[in-house]
């Protein structure tokens, strides 16, 4: 009793709707020095940033495409729009946001979530952040939560001190591309000792066909501060491919704690190639919770550099690959100081010919003794056409380490389905129950609202066309 056509047709991707294009500015298609020049000019940037962009473009052009992971040869970098400005100015209230765009974010439930449980919201549409808010009491405590372009204008020194320090443009080809054409994203600064109880959320929406979205996020958590940042993303369905290539840099100062949660739900025509990295100092904690449900191809390995004693990293990765989807995800932890600890937990589900891979690295530098690391990856394969692979890399240059690695691959068993069906659940309900159970250990780590959202998205992915 293999899971029969529990197919999600394209029309069932709930966020696949699109708005008419009424943009303030749309750059010509393709990537060139002129494109970069134009973006920088539109943003009226300081000279150092313009130069950094050009330098990054050179690096991008020189670096070859990665030959591992997913196939990028079909991705035509000249067939992408690199910059679209959707609105004249950023709204401080939703009423200041253009009507179509506001409606889109309403359909995505953002204003409602903001009212209910968020401390601040950024909403990016194409290349620019069209709405931004932060609760007043946080502003008064010195918390900065801005779109990255505004941060460059308003806090130039702070910005320059950290930008590109965790992920330099030369880090990899896609990081170079982002550094050349970045636009939007979140800039967060949490002063020492400030604990932000409610999450800050950013939502990224692509609307245009062949769009490239290159947001750039920078989070600085000073000593003993705490913040939870959440990002969500969706796009309409087009025949042509879109590209999302973000860079996220995080600095977690001693004793601070940052949690970064992603619920990625791009439509199945989006290449999602993202570099995410945090540097965690003494006694600091960095947590990545990375949920990848959508996209055509995702290559994303959130990483943590443990730079001070007793720093801690936790990476939870959930991936779901359906028809024509490849989720190449995982995490990296670099132990660069003694007594640091890390946990990587990955759960992947593949279905209808979809493919998932766990790709991860644990690296321990010499001198980083007395460290502890646990890697656990579980794959669930729902049918005979689907596939899952595991690529765990370990580079250990220190003897005094405690490292555990466990991997399991399971297929949804006929017996398991039969057992649940004998209790009155339909085959589809049974499969959903097994899948939700499979990801439960990770989902329970999410705040309630996101846990509900995650379960709902998984159910949508699992639902058949028969009502």
């Amino acid at each position: 009793m293999p899971v029969k056509e529990l197919d999600v047709g394209l029309d069932e991707y709930k966020y696949g709707f699109r708005d008419p294009e009424k943009y303030v500015y749309k750059a010509k298609k393709g990537l060139s020095r002129k494109t970069v020049e134009e973006i920088s000019w539109m943003k009226q940037e300081p000279d150092w940033m313009r130069k950094l962009r050009f330098k990054s473009l050179d690096i991008f052009e020189k670096k070859p495409l990665p030959t591992w992971g997913g196939d990028l040869t079909q991705l035509d970098f000249q067939d992408i729009y690199y910059y679209i400005k959707p609105a004249e100015k950023q709204g401080k209230t939703w009423d200041e946001v253009p009507e179509d765009i506001k409606k889109t974010f309403e359909r995505l439930g953002i204003p409602e979530a903001e009212r209910k449980f968020l401390a601040g919201v950024g909403a990016q549409y194409e290349s620019e952040v069209v709405y931004h808010s932060l609760k007043k009491e946080l502003e008064e405590k010195g918390v900065i939560f801005l779109d990255t372009d505004s941060a460059l204008r308003k806090h130039p020194d702070l910005f320059k001190e950290y930008f590109g320090t965790v992920i330099p443009p030369a880090d990899n080809k896609m990081a170079a591309l982002n550094s050349a054409v970045w636009s939007g994203g979140s800039f967060i600064y949490i002063p020492a000792g400030v604990k932000v109880d409610m999450p800050l959320q950013a939502y990224f929406r692509i609307n245009a066909e062949r769009m490239g979205q290159f947001e750039r996020t920078l989070i600085i958590a000073e000593e003993d501060s705490q913040v939870h940042y959440v990002e969500g993303c969706t796009a309409p369905i087009y025949d042509a491919d879109s590209l999302h290539s973000a860079v996220v840099e995080i600095i977690v100062r001693p004793g601070a704690r940052v949690r970064y949660t992603t619920i990625q739900n791009w439509s199945n025509n989006v290449y999602n190639l993202v570099t995410k990295r945090a540097a965690a100092y003494e006694g600091a904690t960095m947590e990545w919770i990375d949920g990848n449900l959508g996209s055509k191809l995702t290559m994303k390995y959130p990483s943590v550099y443990l730079m001070g004693p007793k720093a801690r990293a936790e990476i939870l990765s959930i991936a779901f690959a359906g028809r024509n989807q490849y989720q190449d995800a995982g995490g990296k932890v670099i132990h660069g100081a003694p007594e640091t600890s890390s946990t990587i937990t990955s759960k992947s589900i593949s279905k209808d010919g979809g493919r998932t891979a766990y790709r991860g690295l644990v690296k321990v530098y010499k001198g980083a003794g007395n460290i502890k690391s646990t890697v656990r990856c579980d794959a669930l394969i729902l049918d005979g056409e689907s596939r899952s692979d595991t690529y765990p890399y370990m580079e250990i240059d220190e003897e005094n380490v405690n490292i555990g690695h466990e991997a399991t691959v399971s297929k949804i068993g006929e017996e398991q389905l039969f057992y649940l069906m004998s209790r009155g659940l339909s085959e589809q309900e049974a499969a959903i129950m097994i899948v939700n159970g499979f990801i439960e250990p990770l989902v329970k780590e999410l705040p309630m609202e996101y846990a509900v959202e995650m379960n709902r998205l998984i159910e949508l992915q699992m639902e058949g066309s028969v009502g």
């Binding site: 006929e414 039969f418 057992y419 004998s422 009155g424 659940l425 309900e429 129950m433 159970g437």
Partner: protein, 258 residues
């Protein structure tokens, strides 16, 4: 009274190999039938075939459940009609709590799955607590993942707990006693007896007579090589206990059940 379950001349094969070779059984409301036999005689095959496991192919014969043709229904439809199978080897479903699972199952079977008819949470909780008490299952089990890391005995209690919660029209208990010590057996039997106290028909599949000391069958059938070779009253089970299965061999006695 009309039987709940009628099995007529049933032939079943697995992977092309015929296991059941002409089974006839009728079970009426409130009746308890014991199906005994050695390992490999086809007892569990009958259980799976009744529940509709896709690997168990019905070659010939008919099964009626409350007058309806059971063979046309999927396992979940059979469950919703009121058929229940307590598994010999229940499956673990990691990440799904016992409480969540039971509620889903109870609503699927008794609430017809729809939102409207689902049983109220308060009533569900009360019943769950009562039944867990009776089965001496720790309250913490409600939060544990279904059968995940459970001992053999814990799994058996969990099957009986499901039975007690679902309250089917007909229950098949496949080796419900295997792996239970004598105290656990008493507890489990008590719960089964309590559920049976009414109109429910029961088919107890067992290798040993032991459980029948606690649950009194009205009828006993003995199976060998895919056939029922002897049928009778409770005394038949006692005879098997003292004389073993050997005396039946070669006899080919086939008596009508019920």
């Amino acid at each position: 009274m009309n039987p709940i379950l009628e099995i007529k001349d049933l032939y079943v094969s697995i992977d092309g190999k015929q296991i059941l070779k002409g089974i006839n059984v009728e079970i009426g409301p409130g009746e308890v039938h014991a199906l005994m036999g050695r390992n490999g005689s086809g007892k569990s095959t009958l259980a799976y075939a009744l529940m509709g496991h896709p690997k168990y192919v019905v070659d010939e014969g008919r099964i009626f459940f409350r007058g309806e043709n059971l063979l046309e229904l999927s396992p979940d439809q059979r469950a919703r009609k009121g058929l229940f199978l307590a598994f010999q080897y229940p499956m673990a479903v990691p990440g799904v709590s016992v409480a969540n699972f039971l509620r889903t199952a109870v609503n699927a079977v008794n609430g017809d799955g729809g939102e409207k008819k689902s049983i109220p949470v308060s009533r569900f909780r009360k019943e769950l607590k009562e039944n867990m008490n009776l089965l001496k299952i720790e309250p913490s089990f409600a939060k544990r993942y279904l059968n995940d890391g459970f001992s053999g005995g814990e799994k058996k209690r969990m099957e009986v707990l499901q039975l007690a919660m679902v309250k089917p029209a007909l229950a098949i208990l496949d080796e419900a006693d295997s792996g239970l010590d004598i105290d656990a057996l008493k507890i489990v039997s008590e719960s089964i007896n309590r559920v049976m106290d009414g109109e429910m028909g029961t088919l107890i599949i067992t290798h040993y007579q032991r459980i029948l000391n606690y649950i009194n069958p009205n009828f006993v059938h003995v199976m060998a090589d895919g056939r029922i070779v002897a049928s009778g009253g409770p005394e038949l089970a006692r005879k098997l206990e003292t004389q073993g299965y050997e005396w039946l061999e070669g006899e080919g006695v086939s008596a009508d059940a019920g």
